[in-house]
Symmetry: D2
Subunit: 352 residues, 4 copies
């Protein structure tokens, strides 16, 4: 085999950064040559994530003023906070245009700069890149991603909602104005920043909704669902926090269009995902648990009949740090590098 | 003050039984004179629930062949399994007709014996009592309960769904055919029977839906919503299990009827519950956490605007063992005994 | 009954503050007339702890520049951070000498100002008060506390370790140089400050020791054990964090002195606590769970035989926020106010 | 590469069985050709562990009457309950003597049949095999294991205690009569049998010791520590249950022998494990978290100075299902099959 590809993780001290390192350490085609972190610059990776203590990894450095040319990165994973991301990637691609970038932030997911400005409250700082970025939901956009220079890795909530819904919307199989998505996420989705509301004692032994009626992920759903439908689609979406570390489960209420039954919807999904390595549709009537995909890149989807005539309930589950973030990012890397998509992502779910 | 009322807890070795004992030990108007348990008969209560070790309580006895006359119970709380309940209460009321019964099982909640037979798979064993039983959701049926001999204490899921919805249905304020209830419960709702699926390692660090499309609680919702509406109402309802001990949270998606906005719905609920001691409607736009009612008899309700025009999202939260079971049962006892409804139920939520 | 005593909670936005409010709201002899919080000054208590939403409570104010005379407090509970405490209490007692103070911080627990300086790294700011403060472990120092103006409420770890050990040390029943205390605490013991290490995702599904070999609580143990023994006693003590909100469990390894068996040690404890309302010694061989004291002011103690001849294992459990902090503080208030010690503290443990 | 080795998992419906399947599915040298389960015989593996739904695995069959010759197993992992194991392995090795067996039960760990009878209450059913079985703690017994036909895979608690202690005992570096092991385990250690005490609601939000003074694992510790010391060693050992799925942490209190300091003990361990792939000694003074080894085959060991002169505190952590059971079993298979020991065990810890 030729020499390994050189990859960097920008923002390695957060949870998606650590998850990238966990997976990349066992990816046979890459070596990790760069790790950045701002407040922890100068430290070893083991100081911020002791599980890496037995491994030999580059020291954390600050992203400011990095010599992108000298870094010689084949692929850069960008797991930086919103905002910072735009500036960093702009600089990186200007200096080292042959580096491929997979961005895990929300910064390049919206094609429409007006939508971006509306939801994020300021003008986009790299609008020329935004138009060039490819939205990285592989099961939907595989062809465009293959040649992308900059991939906008999808959000965890939105991946979990799109995988069951997009094939149904494309098939014109459900009523577009009656979609309700009730989503539940583990706590790693909230990131590693120290906030009172995320303390163990605030979270454990409790459950709550948040951002009711106005969560930012909606913009991404609007874009992709409308694209799939060929018309504007607006869904109800409510996120909740579950006292667990990993996992997202979406319970989705739909009405079949033009006489479609729940079974029909199930058949469409079975067919759509027959060859996908990381989407598994359960037998009709079975619904997934988040624990059955924990630590793996897999998405499980179930379809059941609602007792209200003509309606169905879809349930999808994935690990927000893997298929919802770092695993999907590596899948994107594999795709743009021309490697088998499953490389380095074969880990089986950890349960119990 | 006169002597204390004599109360018994039938089925004291389960979670609702223990919760009754917890609350009754501090209720100023009662003394616990009888505790039953089948497999643990002969043991002390401390052997099945060591937290009662410091307290003086009657020994557990079997309910079979109990001398109901000699027991001289003013009130019997029945926390027995489904099925058994019908036979036991029939015997108790036949022998000791002056004893008031608050039943925490599902056995007497459905007025319609045909509905009962359909959902539970067999004929009701005490149909004459079923017609006499009063459905014990106090905020809705206070007047009938006051004179009841047998109160059918509502289910935990259904209490959590009815409290936000019944006033809106009665006010004809929402579209009856578009109600979606996405409910999430802590694990004590599953009871204390040893089942593999309820083991810690099966539950922790995970989340799942269950009984999708066909949960038994639906019969109770159908009955009460249809009663409130004056026509048949069928809702979508999906229960989920949260890795926590206590708490139910319902996220409810509704469409305002005849131009009603989310704010209008909020006003209706504020007014409906202005004087209720155990239902608290949060300011518009705020939604509750289960942790904020843990261990208390309180239900918190929030109302927020959906971004889809004309729609609202209701969120309600209660402790399934208190307002969802034993606390509500004691509230029912207080009501039928003519005591202030809040007696013995003043405990403030335990958070964190 | 005469009018209620006026009590204030200084530092109401932390966990021990909230726990004080939870208990004081149901204490029949007091009314809460003052609540302070620094960063949250100006807010309602419900904004920092939504469980209090249904209750009428004073608005949070800053402690700086408070008019202590006008406040007319009978009792002030001080739940402020280390350091601040000394200055605030000094000012309070200077301005309003008739106010009794129960301090929940570590600031006044050490009689020896040199020990204080060594462990905390700076001189004590109110040494004259330190000498006057009474150490508030009621079961050991009841007599002195009764007349105290300033009570230093013990730490949670140290309460849990002292209750089983002090009677044995006083009885000269164990080898003083072979005591090992392995302590495990729930996360509320770490307080509400937003720190990365206390985030849910850092804590859940894991277990660890911390401060191995050099935890500050040791100074308090040294003082009290040496006092009980009449000579210097130094123990091994290792604290651990358990992924739960409440509870401390100490597993204590001792060797019986002069032929004492584990049974002998058990008898000494049974006798020592025969009349204590909040210490319960289990039958020989049984050991407690933290869950069996959750939310209550109770401490459970068990004694078992070690298989190594002549040795015993003691296990003690309490709720760190109740008997380990706010409950014990209220018990101290009851004592100094001449009320029955159990007033307002009768709540039974919440399990499950 | 030659054809893959054929391996079977006897007892595949328990947690160690599932963990074996998780790891073996990604082991490059084996294929799973046999899975047994008693109550679930006839089902697919996905019916008892839905995470395996996407994989092609043999159907579960009962172990009774299996044709061991026809099964053509190169390696059999035995994850059956205590007792059954002896009979099954006896039959297997009689019929198919070329099959190598790695047994995960406790049945063949004790060389002394008298010790076995004492701790387990009955005579051993295959004493001739017991004498032949090799105790499978690789770091201690690598040489003997290489040629074993039957490996008795060590227990999880005992692996976690032996790895830090055996090198110190062998080096005669600690006082043998003052060892205290305080061990804490996640709940998967209790297995998958449905027991009330293991229900989520009994376990969550609580902590407790169990088997205080008389846990069966002690026999295994006695044997190995005495072997290492060349004299009888009896330690204090107390197991506890932590509300988490995976992980064991042992806090071990020792006194250095003949003037050894904590630093000396650390040096001995550093040297002992310098070349071991799955034991990692942290820098002096650092102690491990269970979360940092979750899902991996790694053991982390820390050494810190106790404040009591001449004493040290050792802390070790491993994943009870991996290094404490199935991972170590695969490491044993690798060893007896002559493959690199780390094959199939390279997975990095899953944190958060």
């Amino acid at each position: 085999m030729a020499s390994k590809a050189r990859v960097g993780v920008l923002g390695a001290s957060g949870y998606t950064g650590a998850e990238l390192v966990r997976l990349l350490l066992r990816h046979p085609r890459v070596e990790i040559t760069l790790l950045t972190a701002e407040r922890s610059a100068g430290k070893a990776m083991r100081d911020v994530f002791p599980q890496f203590s037995p491994f030999d990894l580059p020291k954390l450095v600050t992203v400011d003023g990095l010599d992108w040319v000298g870094a010689l990165l084949d692929v850069a994973f960008c797991a930086l906070p919103h905002g910072t991301t735009q500036t960093v990637i702009k600089g990186l691609l200007a200096a080292a245009p042959s580096t491929r970038v997979v961005d895990l932030s929300a910064d390049f997911r919206l094609h429409d700069t007006a939508a971006y400005a509306k939801w994020y409250g300021h003008e986009h700082l790299a609008p020329e890149l935004q138009s060039e970025a490819v939205y990285g939901l592989i099961e939907t956009h595989r062809r465009e991603i293959r040649h992308a220079k900059l991939v906008a890795n999808p959000g965890c909530y939105t991946t979990c909602a799109q995988l069951p819904l997009v094939p149904l919307i494309k098939a014109n199989a459900i009523e577009l104005d009656e979609i309700v998505i009730d989503a539940k996420s583990g706590m790693t989705g909230a990131g590693r920043a120290a906030k009172e509301a995320m303390l163990f004692s605030e979270v454990s032994e409790g459950f709550n909704a948040y951002g009711v009626g106005h969560h930012r992920h909606m913009a991404e759903l609007d874009q992709e669902f409308s694209l799939a439908a060929g018309r504007e689609v607006v869904v109800s979406f409510t996120p909740h926090l579950v006292p667990m570390n990993r996992g997202i489960l979406s319970t989705i209420y739909v009405r079949g269009g033009r006489g479609r039954t729940a079974q029909n919807l199930h058949e469409i999904l079975i067919e759509a995902y027959a060859k996908e390595p990381f989407v598994h549709v359960l037998p009709f009537g079975e619904t997934p648990h988040t624990r059955h995909v924990r630590g793996s890149n897999m998405t499980f989807i179930g379809v059941a009949k609602d007792r209200r005539e003509g309606r169905a309930i879809l349930v999808s589950a994935l690990d927000n740090l893997v298929k919802g973030a770092s695993g999907q990012a590596i899948q994107n890397m594999n795709l743009i590098m021309g490697w088998p998509e499953t490389t380095g992502l074969e880990q089986v779910a950890l349960f119990p």
